[in-house]
Subunit: 210 residues, 2 copies
């Protein structure tokens, strides 16, 4: 089997606990690396360069776009957000499974460049639970809540595009299941073409009397 | 998530240890059921009806073929071999993951009837190990060994057709990996269409103010 890591794209409804799940996976297992996005927006209080984001200037970001340095990027209002390609490639080559938390638009861009990427959509156990998570903090205006529900409705449209769905109902169990999904992805036939070819070549040589 | 079991088709090179792996999986976990084939050949010493095979008469087998009672069947020389459909369906409905050890010709027949079937090809760590397993018993004639190597060469042709490949190098590790693959298959998006539709319907209803 090959040693290259699997780039794992994790999407899911807002409020479904993707970030917590990814963090718990990174804490528990050594074989993962987290892809850190670059952005041109200003750091918020508590955010650290290289941890939460790589904070870079707009001119630098646009130069990187020209140089193909992003696996995907998008512009929201006045700011760019993107996934630096080099770090992801380095980690994959080193055998690390790279985790990337991103929305479907970015996920589609990446899958075009790296068809071997494995895509997971994190689900709530049911719609009522999702609504409770979106509404339940009780600190938001009706407009904010309505916007969240509307966004969730949009997010729900793309689920079938993903390779796998994972229900996040219990953090400990879901972390194990997420780990299991990514390790299983290593065994997908289309990610093992070279290994299969090697075995076939060897077997053929023996059967021809070598 | 749905509760229906996943029909798992296990193929692999002769001598790669498929049977041992399947038995160990059945011994270790409760959520599996083994599909038992029907055949018209005579029981060999030590074989038990309903355990190794369902031994049935030729007329009965041919009647069952007419009635669509087999997921797949084949005739080798003078004997029929087939996978009874009813038992598999019952177990899947009961939520059991059904294991079926079968060659690619049968696997293809089943996949046409049950596109949700999950297919795994068991691999040796490398070609030399496979040769040693095929040759190494040191109790066979050259003709038998050559026939085995030739068959392995044929078996190697179909590997890419399978969903996943699994290397059987260490029984304990491989059983865990096999279990992981089958549990991960439960999360494949195309096996969760109804669940995804339900969530989407619920989310849409909320966002429209219900």
């Amino acid at each position: 089997m090959r040693n290259r890591g699997v780039l794992t794209i994790i999407s899911g409804f807002s409020g479904v606990g993707k970030g917590t799940l990814v963090k718990a996976l990174l804490d528990k297992y050594d074989n993962y690396a987290l892809s850190v996005s670059a952005t041109t927006r200003m750091p918020r209080p508590g955010e650290t360069d290289g941890i939460n984001y790589f904070f870079i200037r707009k001119e630098e970001f646009e130069e990187k776009i020209q140089n193909g340095a992003f696996l995907e990027y998008a512009r929201y209002v006045d700011n760019y957000y993107g996934t630096p390609r080099e770090y992801v490639e380095q980690q994959l080559e080193a055998g690390k499974d790279v985790l990337l938390e991103i929305e479907i638009q970015g996920a589609r861009q990446i899958k075009k460049l790296l068809p071997e990427a494995f895509t997971i959509f994190i689900m709530p156990p049911d719609a009522v639970t999702l609504k409770e998570r979106l509404v339940g903090r009780n600190t938001e205006t009706m407009e904010v809540i309505e916007a969240r529900l509307c966004r969730a409705s949009e997010e729900a449209e793309g689920i079938e595009w993903y390779d796998s769905v994972l229900v996040n109902d219990n953090l400990e169990k879901s972390v194990e299941a997420l780990h299991g999904l990514i390790q299983a992805a290593h065994c997908d036939t289309f990610r093992n073409k070279d290994f299969i070819k090697d075995i076939r070549k060897g077997v053929k040589a023996f059967s021809e009397g070598e």
